[in-house]
Subunit: 394 residues, 2 copies
Amino acid sequence: MSRTELAEQMGLTRAAVSLIVNDLLESKVIVETESRSIPSGRPPIVLEINPERGLVGAIDIGATHLSIAVADFAARIHQEIEISLDIKQGPEICLAKADQILRQLLQEQGLSISDLSAIGIGVPGPVITEAGMVVSPPIMPGWDRYPIRASLEKKWGCPVTLNNDAELGALGEWAYGAGRGEKNIAYIKVGSGVGAGLMLNKQIYGGTTGAAGEIGHLTIDENGPLCNCGNHGCLEAFAGGHAIARQAQALAQSGKRTLLAGLPPETITAREVAEAARRGDLYAQEILSRAGTYIGIAIAGLINLFNPSVVIIGGGVAQVGDMLTTPIRQAVRERAMRASEQGVRITTAMLGRRSILIGATVQAVNVAIHAAAENRNSTSQPALMENLEVKSSS
Amino acid sequence: MSRTELAEQMGLTRAAVSLIVNDLLESKVIVETESRSIPSGRPPIVLEINPERGLVGAIDIGATHLSIAVADFAARIHQEIEISLDIKQGPEICLAKADQILRQLLQEQGLSISDLSAIGIGVPGPVITEAGMVVSPPIMPGWDRYPIRASLEKKWGCPVTLNNDAELGALGEWAYGAGRGEKNIAYIKVGSGVGAGLMLNKQIYGGTTGAAGEIGHLTIDENGPLCNCGNHGCLEAFAGGHAIARQAQALAQSGKRTLLAGLPPETITAREVAEAARRGDLYAQEILSRAGTYIGIAIAGLINLFNPSVVIIGGGVAQVGDMLTTPIRQAVRERAMRASEQGVRITTAMLGRRSILIGATVQAVNVAIHAAAENRNSTSQPALMENLEVKSSS
DNA sequence: ATTACAATGTCAAGAGTTTTAACAAACATG
DNA sequence: CATGTTTGTTAAAACTCTTGACATTGTAAT
């Protein structure tokens, strides 16, 4: 983004922007990159946040895994590690583990926590961002109202941000993936459960108590199977990773000619179903296709209510690609209203399994930038930085 | 709101606010009202937009009616009129009618269009606010892309705003009704059809193409009755005014002992059902209760996705009150996730059938204020006015 | 090559806002 | 009636942004 563009966006003159920008250049918060060529006139000098200005940490705590990454201010991941970890062990154990892995990851490069400008975290539950804690999480026993952010900021001595994981998936895909620059997007995380993260008017929308986007518990069929949440026929009970695994286990024991038949039932997860489907197993494909249809029904509802411009399918199960998106698209076409359905693009996550980590990185970079700009003695530097924070649509 | 409060909200000092405020007081855009008493210290002087500064027009174009009102800057309605009008007649005829009624209404008080500072309009279709037109409306044949705002501004010579009617219902209830000061609310308009208007982060949310909030076309049961939109089992086909009337007509002919039995089927509308139910007719109550349950199912989905703090039931059918809200509350309690459901209040519209007109008034006042503030030669007067626009939460 | 053109970026003086720091005003309480 | 507390006001000082010029850098035409 050039000085002139910034001036227009902020409602200032080029001269004023020049003064602010040069100040920020001097302190290396932003840098000039190559100048684009334009039809006529002097080419603008493109400005961006200095990728080398610092490093941030990104942590994705899932139901059964823990991913940690170190990235620069351009959200380029330098190092990454994933281990399995049961979130039910509670905050003390899980966060201690995260602390340990992060330090280890940094040490490999001769770094320490103090080299990080900020750390972004995603968790699979309703988050009150301002308070830095989760409230009444369905699948995180023991985490309710635990002061996650406060305790980590104290331990690490740097700013920490906490968000819902699906929100971060949406943010990641919006900033660097399939939803770049769009105004309203939904990121559907299809993992063991199903959740949605929303960005409305280019901002994360978490709802009143952080519980927005619970698409997994839309009622699809009131006579359907029992869900963890206590209700019957939730989407999650039809199409989540657990539900897929359960169907596959039943299939394996049914005596049908399927690639899954040979496996011991306990070892069958959604991953095995995806693998079998990829190899052409019709029964496995059938399971995924049906899941896709159910997800599509729910997404049709979401589209009717939100009218987004893009819906991005992410999460572990989404790695199967078209086997899920094709039935989803069809269900949406059949169920959603024309006016909304025609304007929406439904696509797989561009950042794959990294959407959430990248989203966490973006959040961390944003707070780091804010902290840096606030320390400087200028009024409108923060406002200018906000326009540079993530390459917003031009 | 006092000068000191304004200063805090805007991040300025009291001194700066004083200068701006006194300028605005001089030009009578705002006025001082009585000073509240506080525990200790000098009582603050409450400021508000001068209610007498001017008048605005509000127009609510429904599927089968046209309501027009003249109100002051405090959204107090001075005059009001409602006639029946079929929106299918198209924009030329309907807007000419609106023009005629408005002029007539003004003339009764010795006024004319030039006495109005702005006019707000609501229509029952997806609106692109910036363009001032509707796009692909399901129930407004002939209105697609007709330049509603442009043609009216030319005709009337004052600023005109165009919004979806349910959006305005939400805005009206948020500003002066059951959702005052809340951050995220949904207004459910139960009329011939069913639609939702959303205010998220204290702003109208219309979606990417203005089609957000189409709750009426959520699929409740894929084997349900055919809907106007072409799909099966939409909420609207179960619980809209049309659907209620259809059920009542069937009931009347069924031979059951009901108050509706005597009436000729063609004359039975939702209004007659409500009337019979109020008189204790169990069959009529049953119809309404079932409609409430279906609406509740859809609202449960909306709550799971949006996590609002208040859901307001409005529109013609909602006038029956508890006969609709009780089953709605119960369905929501059964279907929505705890975390979201516990934090939400479900209530009837406080402004009754006027929600939309008041919302239109609020929009009109806002643009009028903006126009007034922009003409003045000051940088931050517009910003200050925004904080006064509608009594936002303190 | 040279010239014209069109847009970006820069500079110094001047205009306009906001802060600072002190003070006056208004009300409750003892 | 003095005291405490918070609001609102005032003048000078500090700061920010705009104004209106000019230099810069590329493309396209002569």
